[in-house]
């Protein structure tokens, strides 16, 4: 981009096109896909600023400006919904995010290849079981006479129904999430681990490094780019805590700690009328925050570790 080498725009375009002609050819189907299935429907986002009327369609409905955004933000539950959504995401980042990394590291240290493979196969299983069934089991286990409650009573807790008690809801939610997802989550890290050159370990052993040194100085740096990428992607989901599992676990007594944006939107859909406009507005609001977060995270990690999404 120095002033001396400045050529005409057309020349630069031609050179780029000819040097990367196959790359453009390869990009074509992918770009077409994104245009048709992702960008073309985006005109629909305008119903967040309109009062959607089936008869008039998305384009023809009347503009109402920021009305639905204002209703949500000024609504009585705004603060609580934001707090619960952010807290649950935050706990997930702290507890659920590192869990598969740790498990992958431990799996990697197993000596027997056969045992390792068996463990791997088994810990993937919960991923395949429907959330409805998983939640049914959670209900059973943490009820007044459930196994987990029994265990906690042995440790000195007062007997209660854990799902009925606001104090335990988030713990039950996060821990059961780890229980179901930790095995499946290791896949990506185990795959990254195979990319590490075995010679590095041999050299380290010759230098007298013990197991913990090897993990700290070779394994972790080896999968650091994957961890960073996953972390950025996870940060971009902070506002979108899913509703299905919470709906199956919460009750009016735990709304105080369990009600998140997506469950609120779900309940809105169930009450009078079909609130496409209001729900789109809330969705847009969440997305904007998510997108801001991922932009920031990307800038920060690019400065710190030279790994970034773009």
């Amino acid at each position: 981009m120095t002033a001396g080498s400045k050529k005409s725009l057309w020349q630069r375009v031609r050179r780029e096109l000819s040097a990367n002609r196959y790359v453009y050819l390869m990009a074509l189907p992918v770009v077409i896909y994104y245009i048709i299935f992702c960008y073309a429907p985006m005109y629909g986002a305008q119903i967040a600023f309109k009062r959607f009327d089936v008869a008039k369609g998305i384009m023809g409905s009347d503009w109402v400006g920021l009305r639905y955004f204002a209703e949500f933000i000024n609504g009585p539950y705004f603060f609580r919904l934001m707090r619960n959504t952010l807290l649950i995401s935050f706990y997930e980042l702290i507890f659920a995010f590192p869990a598969p990394i740790l498990l992958a590291l431990l799996l990697n240290e197993l000596r027997s290849e056969k045992f390792k493979r068996t463990v791997q196969t088994i810990i993937y299983l919960p991923h395949f079981i429907s959330i409805v069934i998983i939640c049914g089991m959670i209900h059973d286990f943490v009820s007044r006479d459930g196994v987990i409650t029994d265990l906690l009573v042995l440790l000195g807790m007062e007997r209660t129904n854990l799902l009925g008690d606001p104090a335990f809801f988030r713990s039950v939610y996060i821990i059961s999430g780890i229980w179901q997802g930790v095995g499946w989550g290791t896949i990506i890290y185990l795959s990254a681990l195979t990319g590490i050159d075995p010679q590095q370990y041999e050299a380290a052993i010759v230098d007298g490094a013990n197991r913990f040194h090897q993990i700290w100085y070779i394994t972790l740096p080896g999968i650091a780019p994957t961890i960073t990428t996953m972390f950025i992607l996870q940060l971009g989901k902070v506002m979108s805590v899913g509703f299905e599992k919470i709906i199956l676990l919460y009750n009016p007594n735990t709304y105080e700690v369990a009600d998140v944006i997506s469950t609120y939107v779900y309940r809105m859909g169930l009450s009078e009328g079909t609130q496409f406009s209001a729900t789109t507005a809330i969705g847009l609001f969440s997305s904007a925050i998510n997108f801001l977060l991922i932009l920031t995270a990307n800038q920060v990690t690019r400065k710190l570790s030279h790994t970034s999404l773009w």
């Binding site: 539950y77 007044r144 009925g164 009016p252 609130q275």
Partner: protein, 547 residues
């Protein structure tokens, strides 16, 4: 070597798949175009139907040339257990034989009916006929007509569907519920003829009650006495079980105090239960049960499985629930054991008068109404076709299936189900068999006749729970429709009000919020706009009453 192989075979697989994709992509195109391609031309179908009245056609046949209509309806859960489309249902097979009209059924996924319906409307990719709870259409059925989704049926019904008209005008109540505020007919309705309007209510362990030598409790005071003795003498640790809805949205107990759990009417005036002082007494009453251990302390988090377990393993012996879905299920599971359940009447009001607040369906069921869409090329024929269900033979066909196979007429001329339904050889339950042989298992266009259940305990609920259900018409809010503007204004308020109400009711009962703060609760509800909601509902109710 190995590397090269993998790379090549991967590329080959991908290429083949790509080719397959493009080929099949083209092939799949024409599949759905049939219904959407047909353009307006609502009057052009008359030639076909005028042919129907001509002498040349055999009796009942509506058209000389076979006609196919597309029909969107959710497949009843009971039917879904054994068939995947109503085209396998005997009623429609018979109908095709008689009328020469073939129905091509489109079924939404169970549990996603609303999404699919909304998408169908928004995309305007309409079938010829839609069976749906049109009262729930955003802005009401009148809006569905003005939106150009369905057609107004008044003229068609007058001319082509005399039997449907007769049934839908058979009484004042039915006539009101069959029309919009402007007097338009918009669909062929499911009309409940007999007393099957209440299908849920209180029931208890009658074997325990008899052991204790007690009478069936008729007042809440007597309910409490029964619960106390269940707890003390029958070892029921939590004698009364239920879920959050039992106390949030069910009127059975709070109705005793003279108020509805949410919106209700008193002499044509809309009210909201929690705003009335009696509602506080109701909460104090339930809280007392809770404090004394008569009520399941975990009711707020119970799901249907927990309730089922409590009722069958001796922890509980008293609840409010459905005849078949709850009581029938438990009785089946415990058959052959020392266990019996019996429905009891809704409790008397505090002053000893007959119960008013009932859990009940309306004479005209709000679900299962059949509308003709604007793309339908044969509206007259469709009306004639639907009319058949309102004739005597059609009503029998629809409710009981085929004579001599799924039902017979006894000496009195009343239908009786055969063993094909009652003891199905393929192991289907009665409801499931009924759903294959008839449309009698859920509300559908035509008369809805509720049959006696085979289980005597379940069968008698019809009499016990319906004894006072007619009173409920005075207090419950009928299926009113809000205008689009009203609905839009309501929607933002109602979610907040409902959430807050649910939460606070539970907190008051469980003592996490003192009833001394009840006034704050009322104030808060008002700040969420509950009074405006009452106004809007009142306007809709007034329009309804003026129909």
């Amino acid at each position: 070597m190995m590397k090269k192989h993998t790379g090549q075979s991967l590329a080959a697989i991908l290429l083949t798949a790509m080719l397959a994709a493009s080929a099949a992509g083209c092939a799949s195109e024409p599949s759905e175009s049939q219904s959407s391609a047909s353009s307006a031309g609502t009057s052009s179908g008359s030639s076909v139907s005028s042919g129907a009245s001509a002498e040349s056609l055999p009796e009942g046949q509506l058209t000389a040339e076979p006609v196919t209509l597309t029909y969107w309806v959710s497949l009843d859960n009971n039917a879904a257990a054994s068939i995947s489309s109503y085209s396998e249902n005997k009623v429609y097979q018979k109908m095709e034989e008689i009328t020469n009209v073939k129905i091509d059924f489109l079924h939404p996924t169970i549990g996603q009916e609303t999404e699919q319906f909304n998408l169908m409307i928004a995309s305007r990719d309409l079938p010829d006929l839609i069976e749906y709870g049109w009262v729930g259409y955003d802005g009401g059925p009148e809006k569905a007509i003005s939106d150009g989704i369905i057609i107004k049926l008044n003229d068609l019904i007058d001319e082509y569907a005399p039997d449907a008209k007769a049934l839908m005008e058979s009484s004042d109540v039915v006539a009101k519920q069959s029309k919009t505020d402007n007097g338009s007919y918009y669909a062929f309705m499911a009309v409940g003829e007999s007393n099957g309007n209440t299908q849920s209510g209180p029931f208890l362990r009658i074997d325990w009650l008899e052991d204790l030598g007690m009478e069936e409790p008729a007042t809440l005071e007597e309910w409490t006495a029964v619960l106390e003795r269940f707890k003390e003498e029958k070892g029921a640790s939590i004698p009364f079980t239920g879920d959050a809805n039992t106390f949030i949205s069910n009127d059975t107990i709070c109705g005793v105090f003279g108020v509805g759990s949410q919106f209700y009417q008193e002499d044509g005036v809309v009210k909201y239960g929690p705003l009335e002082p009696e509602y506080r007494e109701y909460l104090a009453f339930v809280k007392d049960w809770y404090d004394r251990g008569l009520l399941d302390p975990d009711f707020a988090s119970n799901d249907s499985n927990t309730i089922a377990a409590n009722m069958t393993n001796g922890k509980s012996g008293f609840m409010i629930g459905f005849a078949g879905g709850a009581m029938g299920t438990y009785l089946n599971a415990m058959s052959g054991e020392d266990y019996d359940l019996k429905a009891i009447e809704y409790p008397k009001m505090l002053d000893g008068s007959d119960p008013m607040f009932h859990h009940r369906a309306w004479e005209v069921r709000t679900s299962g109404s059949l509308a003709i869409t604007t793309v339908n090329e044969y509206p007259e024929l469709s009306a004639q076709w639907a009319n058949y269900f309102y004739t005597e033979e059609g009503g029998l066909l629809k409710n009981f299936g085929i004579e001599g196979e799924s039902y017979i007429l006894n000496e009195d001329g009343d239908p009786e189900l055969t063993d094909l339904i009652e003891h199905n050889p393929d192991g289907l339950s009665r409801q499931q068999a009924l759903a294959v042989w008839s449309r009698g298992s859920t509300p559908s266009p035509g008369p809805v006749i509720k049959l006696q259940d085979a289980n005597p305990r379940v069968a008698e609920t019809v009499d016990i729970w319906n004894r006072y259900s007619v009173n409920a018409a005075e207090v419950l809010i009928p299926p009113i429709t809000q205008t689009p503007e009203e609905a839009d204004e309501l929607s933002s308020m109602i979610t907040n009000i409902n959430s807050y109400h649910e939460e606070m009711v539970i907190k008051f009962i469980m003592g996490q919020e003192s009833l001394d703060n009840y006034d704050n609760f009322v104030e808060q509800l008002k700040s969420y706009g509950v009074e405006r909601v009452i106004e809007l509902k009142q306007a809709a109710l007034d329009r309804y009453n003026a129909r």
